[in-house]
């Protein structure tokens, strides 16, 4: 299996084999992160630019650590955004970064499709670090990596994604990735947070969390993305926690060793109870650790794709 893609824009666009290659490569990188010296010279002399149009700490830091452990130089650019902002267009910004002879552009944008626009317009590698409601491929890859590490396989697993399905790029990427690898995905949320047609993407849809969690091997808990829509697009918080919150009480009725995941940041008491977030079933911090290995693998692979071409 060879990696041939210049960019990583989403899991929708990857084959099962490509996803497996990333996961396997990430396993090797995870070993690197356990060493005394956690740094390898693989991307020495390369420059990675983190271009972030949305405030983000964890993803940006994770990409930065990943790039540095590959010996790449890292430049972080945070762009002030507002809908009325006038100024340089996205393509112009991208072309300027390319002119600085950067090699890999990691981009986070509040508009769906912005990384695709950059990838089309630029010769350098573009990695999507989350775009609008569209995709967040590296988050889903690290979720899948963590699941596989914990349970030994993905094929046949029952995975529930609960929460703000409508506005979630993490959810979309997880549906594509998990279903390509043979897991059964169920999305669960109040009706108002279920986007049209999501069932046709390969996920079962339900509004009943207890039903969904029955026989589930893992649950991925999403937060409400209040910043992405009008207040009227969301359910009332207390009501939501009562009906959909992942609580100790709820977990008592399901598989004892169910894996609880969360892409962060956590809103304790809104979508997940504190005791669960910190409890035995939670792998939330392992997800963070695995995120670095997965992002190292992605950066390494897209950089190689470039070399193979050139």
């Amino acid at each position: 299996m060879l990696w041939t893609k210049k960019d990583l824009l989403g899991l929708e666009y990857l084959s099962k084999e490509e996803i497996e290659l990333i996961l396997e490569t990430a396993e090797s990188f995870k070993e690197v992160t356990t060493r005394e010296i956690k740094k390898v010279p693989a991307l020495r002399g390369k420059t990675v630019v983190n271009l972030f149009y949305e405030p983000s700490t964890r993803t940006r830091v994770s990409f930065e650590v990943a790039a540095k452990r590959l010996s790449a130089d890292v430049i972080n650019i945070a762009v002030e955004t507002s809908s009325v902002r006038k100024g340089e267009t996205l393509i112009d910004t991208g072309k300027n970064i390319q002119a600085l002879k950067a090699d890999i552009l990691v981009v986070r944008h509040n508009c769906s499709g912005a990384p695709a626009l950059l990838a089309r317009s630029l010769a350098i590698n573009v990695v999507n670090a989350g775009d609008g409601w569209h995709e967040h491929p590296t988050q889903a890859l690290l979720d899948i990596f963590t699941l596989k590490e914990k349970l030994g396989r993905i094929e046949g697993l029952r995975v529930v994604i609960v929460g703000d399905i409508a506005h979630s790029r993490v959810c979309r990427s997880n549906i594509w990735g998990l279903s390509k690898l043979g897991a059964k995905v169920t999305v669960c949320a109040p009706e108002m947070l279920i986007p049209p047609g999501i069932g046709e993407m390969g996920a079962a849809v339900t509004c009943d969390i207890d039903e969904a969690l029955k026989d589930a091997d893992a649950v991925n808990v999403l937060r409400m993305q209040f910043e992405r829509d009008e207040p009227t697009a969301f359910p009332e918080q207390l009501e939501y926690f009562k009906n959909y919150g992942i609580t100790e009480e709820r977990l008592k009725r399901v598989k004892r060793n169910i894996i609880v995941m969360h892409p962060g940041p956590i809103n304790r008491g809104v979508e997940i109870a504190s005791v669960v977030a910190d409890g035995q079933n939670s792998v939330i911090l392992e997800q963070v650790t695995n995120g670095i290995a997965v992002r190292m693998a992605v950066l390494f692979l897209v950089a190689q794709a470039n070399e193979a071409k050139g």
Binding site: E12, S83, T89, L90, I91, H109, C111, S112, G113, A114, A116, L117, R120, D131, G132, W133, H134, E135, R169, R172, P195, P196, G197, I198, E200, M201
Partner: protein, 424 residues
């Protein structure tokens, strides 16, 4: 000034003509239609193997002047029209300033007189500034020569106000053109709502936002038995509502644009902003319904909704990009490729929908080759292929949905008032 067109297949649905004939135009009018006309020494076009037809009448066009001459001007827009075989256009009132007063329309009339290369008709605004608050006074606008009224780009939300406007339009025998969109329902959406919008993570525009408003506007027209024209139909339900109304003899007419019968929402999968328009591209099922409605006559007219936008407004993030695509230069070829080549319409039926019917709806003396009519004629090679290329677009903006597409039917001549206006 005489012009003779010899040996072409003349198609004129107004007179049920479809045969090889010669046409003579004198001083801007058609004067003879017969076999083997011989007028020695006059300008002659040999049209053997070509179709000779009334030039198209495009009843939904944005030429952006005055106000946004960076997108299009009356000159560039009318030249684009000529390249597409279009000799007459109706320009929508959403210019800057809007066409909402006698003064503004006088100004536009002056601009047209100075710089247009084709026939440009003006559509006046229904409400001041197109804000949907206060009527413009249709009598005044008619005095300045508008042939229709519309708030296109915006819908008149206030039912009472629209009712009043329809009554006024009826009194002055002006067609009222309705852009049907309930903005509360379209909710800042950027594409059709459904699986594809969910996959792309884009905010959807529901079908209800269109057809519920079509339903309302049609029932208003029915209530006061006043004519109404619904523009740019995009979905199946809208078609069904119009079909039912027509059965009940409600005076409703409607049009759809080439992109709605040739492209579906799948075209947006790589976030191509040249596929972003309002109403949005819908599903394959809707495309089929629009085609069927064009065949059975539920949809009366084909109009381009030519909406030029600059690169700065299109080569950006999809959500931030402007709605709209250009269409004057591809109107005829897309229609031939998608409707005639596929056996849905005959050439005669296509000409009826793209020339005769719009002229009838606007009550203008166009769209026919009758003796005495204005000599607005298109001569086309119906079987020649061409590829839409950015560099060859005449319009000032290049935002076409059909870039790179191979189309059938090439316009060889466009004649306006008896003069060869294209090739330039």
């Amino acid at each position: 000034m005489k012009l003779l067109i010899k040996g072409g297949r003349v198609i004129d649905p107004a007179n049920n003509i479809d045969e090889v004939l010669d046409i003579l135009a004198e001083d801007g009018n058609i004067t003879r239609l017969a076999k083997d006309i011989d007028v020695p020494g006059e300008q002659t076009i040999e049209a053997a193997g070509k179709i000779v037809m009334p030039a198209l009448v495009d009843m939904h066009v944005h030429l952006r002047e005055p106000g946004r001459e960076d997108k299009e001007t009356i000159k560039s827009g009318t030249l684009a029209a000529l390249k597409g075989g279009v000799a007459s256009v109706l320009v929508m009132p959403n210019t800057e300033p809007a066409m909402d007063s006698a003064e503004n329309i006088r100004m536009l009339t002056g601009l047209i007189k100075n710089s247009s290369y084709a026939n440009v008709y003006i559509c006046g605004a229904i409400t001041k500034g197109r804000y949907g608050k206060e009527l413009t006074g249709i009598a005044k606008l008619k005095n300045e020569g508008v042939v229709a009224i519309s708030d296109d780009g915006a819908a008149v939300d206030n039912e009472e106000l629209l009712l009043k406007a329809l009554l006024e339009a009826k009194e002055h025998r002006l067609p009222a053109i309705c852009h049907c969109e309930d903005r509360k329902l379209s909710n800042k959406g950027v594409m059709n709502s459904g699986l594809i919008s969910t996959r792309l993570g884009l905010r959807g525009i529901s079908r209800e936002s269109e057809y519920k408003r079509v339903e309302r506007d049609v029932s208003l027209a029915e209530r006061i038995s006043s004519p109404i024209h619904i523009t740019h139909l995009s979905c199946k339900e809208s078609v069904e509502i119009i079909a039912r109304a027509k059965k009940k003899a409600v005076k409703v007419t409607c049009d759809s644009a080439p992109h709605y019968f040739s492209l579906s929402e799948e075209a947006l999968l790589d976030y191509d902003t040249n596929m972003k328009m309002n109403p949005p591209l819908r599903t394959k099922e809707d495309v089929t319904a629009i085609k069927q409605a064009l065949k059975d006559g539920t949809i009366d007219a084909i109009a381009s909704d030519h909406a030029p936008q600059t690169i700065n407004e299109k080569e950006i993030e999809f959500e931030r990009a402007e709605f709209g695509v250009i269409g004057l230069e591809t109107l005829l070829s897309v229609s031939i490729t998608e409707l005639v080549e596929t056996g849905i319409l005959s050439f005669s039926e296509l000409i009826k929908r793209a020339a005769l019917n719009p002229a009838k709806i606007l009550k203008i003396n166009k769209g026919t080759l009758s003796i005495g009519a204005d000599a607005d004629i298109a001569i086309i090679d119906p079987y020649k292929q061409w590829t839409v290329r950015k560099e060859e677009i005449v319009s000032r903006s290049k935002n076409s949905s059909f870039l790179g597409r191979q189309l059938k039917g090439v316009v060889e001549y466009t004649i306006v008032n008896g003069k060869i206006a294209y090739p330039f």
